[in-house]
Structure formats: C-alpha cells, structure tokens
Symmetry: C2
Subunit: 295 residues, 2 copies
DNA sequence: TTCTTTGATAGACAAAGACTATTAATTCTA
DNA sequence: TAGAATTAATAGTCTTTGTCTATCAAAGAA
C-alpha cells in the first residue's frame, strides 16, 4: 500500500511512468500495475491517461496530498525508531538558496558536534525549487527567504536578516565611499545571479524603485563564480552582507553598505510541518533556534 | 505495511494475540508473523514476549503512536476520496457520556438532513473510555466533558454548559422549593450514576464541598434507568438541566435549580486532531459549531 | 508514411501472506 | 505437584500478490 503511494509520488515528480519507475527501482509495468491497483482500491481513476502521462484527476491530486503525508510519516517512523536505538543517524537533505549557502556551515558544524553520525547532503536551489522539493519529500529542510512568497505546509525558524553590500574594488567607481544608494548602484555594471533566483528579483526591484535598471555584465547561478570574479578586483556585485563576510574579502575589495533604503530580507529554515518531526529534523530546528541569535 | 500496523493497533487494544487476530479477521499465526515482520523492518523488538502478551517495548509504544496516525490517515484518505465521488456516506461512530446522550439527537438530526447517506453508531461510554476509543481509532468523535481532565491529541468544539437540577416529586422533601443548595441536596437519598462516571465524581465533589456526602440509594450506569425511577415520583436524582428538559418531565415531578454554587461543566464535541479531517467528521464539527449557540 | 516514444498487456516466476496443524512454555487448578 | 488449559511460536502447504521480460498499440515527430 505505502509502496504504491510512493509510486504515485514518483509519478507526480517525474510526470513519466518510465522515469518514475526507475526512480522507485522497479520496472515500468510494475509501476503501472501499482497505480492501477491504487485506482481499483479507491474506485476512481487517479491519472489522466492518454497515450502518455497527462496529469492527475482531481481525485488523483487529493490522493497525492494524502500520499505525501502518509509516506512522509512512514519514513519519519522508521527514522524515529532508528534514532531511539542508535541515536541520531542517517542523512539530512538540505537545500539552500545560493546567497545562504555560505552560512549553512554555521548550522551543520554545531549539529555535527552534537550528532556525529548524521550525514549531510546540501543542494543549491532557487527558493521556488526548495518549496517544491520540501513538498515532494525530496529534502528534509530548506534555507530560503521567508515572509515573501506564500509558503505551504511548513514550519519556519527565522535565521538572519539579509542586508545588501556593493562589493567592489577600492579604486573602482564608488569604491571609496562609506555607503552608497541604490540609485548610485544602478549606474555600475554588476555580476548578479540569474533572474530565476529570488535574490536577483529582489535586487532588480530595489534598483528599479530607485529609478535605475539592473545592468548585469555577467550572470550566473553560482555564487562561487560571482565571488571569484569579484575577488579579481575587476568586477562589482551586490551581495548580502553575510556572504561577503563569510567568504572573506581582502584588500583592495570592499563591501560597502547600500542605504536608502537599507533593504532587508529575512532568511529562515523551513521544514515540513509534521508533528512530531523526524528526530534529525527536530535536531536541526533546535540547532537553528540556538544559533539564530548569533547570526 | 499498513495492514501490519493495523495488527499492532489491534494488539494494543486487545492485549492478546488471538483476540487481536480475530478482530483483524486473520488467524493468530498470521498476526504473529505480521508483528514479527514489523519488528524485523524496524530492527527492534516491539512487543514484550513471554509465553503471553506482556505489553510493548518503548520502541513498540513509539511505533504504536505512528501507527495510529498512519492508519488513521489511510482510512481518512479512502473516506475522503469516496466522499468526492458519492458525497458523504459511510458510518459515523460517536461515543457520548450518558448525561449527554439526550442531546446527541440535536446534532444527528440536522446532520442527516444535510447528509442522508451517512449512518450513525452511538455508544454510551464514560469520559475516560471515550478518550481511549478516540485514541485507538475506534470512534470518530466523542461528546464528553471538556476542560477538566487533560485531553490528548483532539480538537474540541464546546457545545453547552451543564447546570444541575434536583429532580424530585413536588410532595417529596425540598419538592416545593424554587431553588436548593448542594448542602440541602446532600441530605436527600438520591439515584445517581455509578462512581466510574465523571458526572458522579463531579456531583460527589460538589456535595462534599458543601459539607455533605453522597448517599445514593440507587446507582446505575444507565440514565434511562435513573430517569424511569425518577418518573415514578418516588425517587430523587441530580441531573443536568438539559437531560431533564429533553426527556420531558411531567407533574408532579420538578427539576429544581441547585445553587451555591451553580456548578457548571462544559460539554463538547471532541474529534481526532487531523488535518484535514475525514469528510464525515469535518461535517460533524461544522454541524456542532452550527447548533452550539442554540443549546 | 515510417520511426520513436510511451504506456498497457501477457505470461512466467518469485516472494509474501495466510491457513491448518502442531509444539513449547506458562499458568491455573485440583 | 500432576494434569489441564491457555497462549504464542513454528512448520508446512497453498494462494495471492508483486515483479520481471517481452511484446503490443497508440500517438507524435521526422
């Protein structure tokens, strides 16, 4: 029963019988049979069938919601019992927005000291992808913007405020200032994240409301790439204060506060709303609460 | 998997492999094998084994909690989907404390008008039994005292306040009064519920704090029995106002308010805390909210 | 049209689940 | 304390379910 619900979840993820089957480690006919069996049990078609996958029926969507919960709980149960016996262990899958990646170590480090047998997998994803992965039980926790775009069935722990800095060489335009305005920043060619990233959209908005445009000379979905360009001293970027601090800037690179307005975004930990949480997730939330004040 | 969790729930209820198996509609070896299989999956003993059932291990208790949730959700899913197709149908299992039995009709009647395909089973149980049945998924809703003894994972809808009346014949002692005190009531021989009922414990407490004792000449666990005695005019009882009203008293029987204090107990609907609820339960909660003001 | 993609179907085989019968270990009872 | 009764585990058999490979049919794409 639960296996079949997992089939359905995989199908929702992959939107393709063959790939969903592969993801579940079974063959395509097996997955087809599983879904069909579910449909018989429920007495309704769950999947819109043409000669290819065409999405779910309304009933299918509903079953999917239940499946997420039931499958999630059954995994949580296993982890819970395993934790009772061996202490916390297993793998914690986290996804973070690129601008928050640098501070993930601030959580994982004290976590590992407390629970050395837990392994981590950390993905760099956009804020929308993170919510999707959470929804589909593909990650255990996300680190993303909170309080902006509406968020579904998740619990939230605020971590820190993102303040923006113009990161540039001291001898570049504006490089000698103690603070700059968004209007001024809009005149400088920048390295920025790609527009599918919420950070970029936020910066675009700030630049625009200051009467400017974003004129990126270089876009990337990788903060490392942006950062390495900035370190040459020949490129400028707008980055959150935290990441600039964490990665460490040396002369002649400066991180100059951008005021008017001192725009603020809150970054937080989001985990599936489940009571009780899995033990590893609960420990992550505890750790987040613990370190949040120091960030 | 879910079937095996159901085995475990049955075992928790029956505390006996044979009876649990019977309750599940399988033979005892099948249930034993199922439990064993669960234990292998989890890698821990769940049941304390002697030559007979000796309760659960700590891990077993934990699995049991998860099992209640997972099994409950999987049933809710089926009902949910069935309701999508055929409208509300199925059976709603309710348990109520005896003193609330008379007002159950105030909910079931409008409920049936709205959802004619839902069938009811109503049990008369003590308040403690009701919580136990709810916990074990044996009923869908309870009607009981709220805000007294602590209640577990349930949602609550307050229904009405229980005020007490001395029910007695006009020519019996105190029968001519407009109101009486608990101290006075404690002097009269009464028909009361048995002491395992919370209503009786409440009345005992009230009598005691008025300096009296409860001196029941007749005890029963059946309100009908108490009521039929009172109707003869030769017996007196202490009953909630509501039940006296609902069942209808005729001359010369009177229901006299008991003051000092005008003790109040709140009665409410309790349902398992599950989001979303099963459709039939959600409808019951809606109905309860609707009628509560008129009670 | 012809080829490719995608999901359903058929048939064989293995695994899991369930039943009956029996056994082993306690506990009760006479 | 011996014998009976109770309770759960085990053995052996059979049925059901699940999974695989191979193949087919339908619908797009070239």
């Amino acid at each position: 029963m639960i296996d079949k619900l997992e089939f359905l979840l995989a199908l929702a993820r992959e939107k393709h019988f063959g790939r969903a089957a592969e993801a579940c480690g079974v063959t395509q006919p097996t997955l087809s049979a599983g879904v069909k069996h579910l449909e018989e049990q429920m007495g309704v078609l769950l999947v819109k069938r043409g000669s290819r996958f065409q999405g779910f029926t309304p009933e299918g969507e509903r079953v999917l919601e239940w499946a997420r919960r039931i499958v999630g709980d059954s995994r949580a149960m296993r982890e819970d019992i395993s934790a009772l016996r061996h202490g916390l262990s297993g793998r914690l899958r986290i996804a973070a927005i690129p601008t928050a990646l640098a501070m993930v170590a601030a959580i994982t480090t004290p976590y590992r000291d407390r629970h050395p047998n837990v392994q981590f997998t950390v993905y760099s994803r956009t804020s929308l992808e993170i919510l999707d992965l959470l929804e589909n039980l593909e990650i255990d926790a996300g680190i993303t913007y909170i309080g902006n775009e509406p968020i579904g069935r998740v619990s939230i722990v605020p971590l820190y405020q993102e303040h923006y800095r113009l990161v540039t060489s001291a001898d570049a335009p504006l490089g000698d200032r103690d603070s700059v305005t968004w209007a001024e920043v809009s005149q400088v060619p920048l390295c920025l994240l790609t527009p599918d990233m919420q950070n970029r959209r936020i910066i675009n908005r700030l630049l625009k409301s200051a009467g400017g445009e974003s004129r990126p000379t270089l876009e990337s979905d990788s903060m490392i790439l942006l950062f390495s360009h900035v370190r040459t001293g020949r490129w400028a970027s707008v980055m959150p204060e935290k990441i600039a601090q964490t990665l460490g800037l040396s002369e002649p690179i400066r991180a100059i506060p951008i005021l008017q307005p001192d725009a603020v975004q809150t970054i937080g930990l989001v985990v599936p709303q489940r009571e009780p949480m899995t033990p590893t997730t609960a420990a992550l939330v505890a750790e987040a609460r613990r370190i949040a004040p120091s960030l």
